[in-house]
Amino acid sequence: MREEVQQIKSLLEEQVYVTDAAVATALYLSMTLGKPLLVEGPAGVGKTEIAKVLAKALNTKLIRLQCYEGLDATTALYEWNYPRQLLHIKLDESSPTSEAEKEATIFSEAFLLKRPLLQAITEHGRAPVLLIDEIDRSDEEFEAFLLEVLSDFQVTIPEIGTITATHRPHVVLTSNRSRDLSDALRRRCLYHWIDYPSLEKELAIVHARVPAISETLSREVTQIIQQTRTMNLSKVPGVAETLDWATALVALNATQVDREVLDETIGCFLKDEADIAVFKAEPRVYADERE
């Protein structure tokens, strides 16, 4: 393994992020080749966490763009602060400055509201981490617009001119696969798939994030969660749910997961009435507990 990859791995681990070679390699390549990293996987496996941890590890700023249906360029890139412009014009009404000067003033950077993408491009100091979260939730038009920004890292504002990135941000995109992304966007990115962790990895995550938990309890928790994931549920618990549950059990001073404790805390990892019914109908879960 290349030394740099090992370094990234240990950097991530310092930030209490249990990782593997695949993530470290993907991040290393993304940084070396200057390509955005597209992370896909089921909900709650720590996709967003990658960007957060990366920012911490590099000791740089995390700029996050949360996507949603209807997200457009003004909310993502920049916008003129028109109330402020209006106020300025009003206050400046009686001053002798010329029309042209006035216009230059109100269309200067002071009146520009920087949205995440522009922020990421104009960030001084070191390259920030730009997290474009849940890109699959945005519209196809926005995706096309994003392509343009991600390929050149420059933005043209008609009133000011073209702004080019001083430091190319490290870009991480996440997707839950609720919509198929365009091939153009996929091609521009490196691809990484995160799946639910294995039992061993999940155990390690629980120990890293909930240090107060005992060995037996953590094993029980992860085993039940791993079993739950094989059931036919509408909302499969992610790692976030495992951690919530483990934290709750520690807070309740539980020493083991018996029927009573399970009933009290089941809401930590199953968030759907029908799912809870499925879980309870499954004989092996409770049977294991009674031993």
């Binding site: 070679a21 390549l29 028109y82 106020l87 196809e140 919509r179 198929d180 091939d183 996929r186």
Partner: protein
Amino acid sequence: MNENDVVLLGRALREHGVAVTPAEVVAAVAAFAVIDQADREEVFLSLRSVFTARIDDFPIFEELFAKYWKRLPEKHVERAGFSKTTLKERPGAPQRGLAYFLEHWSSSRGEDGEPLKVPGASETESAAAKDFSAFGKEDLDEVARLARRIAKRLARDPSRRWRPVRRGSRINLRRSLRQSLSTGGEVIALSFKERKPKRTKLVVICDVSGSMDIYSRLLLQFIYGLQNSFAKVESFVFATSLSRITGYLRNKTYENALERLSAKVRGWSGGTRIGESLAAFNTDWLRRIDKRTVVIILSDGWDTGEPEQLAQAMAQLQRRAGRVIWLNPLLGSSSYAPATRGMQAALPHIDVFAPAHDLASLRALEAHLVL
């Protein structure tokens, strides 16, 4: 493995249907230069992240990578399931159904009028559908035209109406002035407006099992037409299991789409497990269904699975969807009654139950699609 092999691997992947362009190959070589070339895992992970763009590409990558890592000549890479030649050389398909048609579409062009045999279905059904099998080339074109027309109607750009929005490109003068009264006639907060969009989405789930063979060909043309004139269509086919074909139909010529589909058709034209397939659909795709979604299921309702599962899946689907339309080609026959167990189970959860056996019935569909 050296740089040359990386390029060859890229080419092999492209030949096996992974979308690898020269840009990826360049990136892969660049990546290869900055990693530990002796570490198999690292090379594997790196090249995979560059060459693949979706998890579905992983298995084929893994397979081809293994060959190139050991530097085997390319001809060893051919795999029965992926090779086009073996597909064509396969001795005559037992049924002349959709699968057969797809595999032989190029040679059978021009003899479109040739009747297709109905496998496994009983006498009455084949009689009811005979006119279908004699569908000529012009009729198929008509189906395509019809699909485009319906799609246009659905996608017809933003509606005429405006709606106020918090931010947008057009200023809502009326509102802005009205609001300015509270600040003494000084316009400070602007309000905006935009055209109300029409957001009807379509999900088409088509049964391609043996009993549907004669219709599937026509319906596939219909779906193809919809898919290519209307952005918000997702299409799926199922027989014993569900597969998504949206990407196969989009932005391709019809022939090109058929060619790509033909690599996928194994297992089509077999038995039907509607309930299981719909449940599989719900697991992966139910999240995408909302009240503005019209779900169209094209099936004759001959199910070999459990009716309870079908009923449950349909109920789930109907709760989420704006409208559930079940098109049953058999409904065109006057003697047909939806008496099969599957159909009985599904009926309570269907909003529109309509025939789909000829052009007129497809035309009538248009009215149901606008929510």
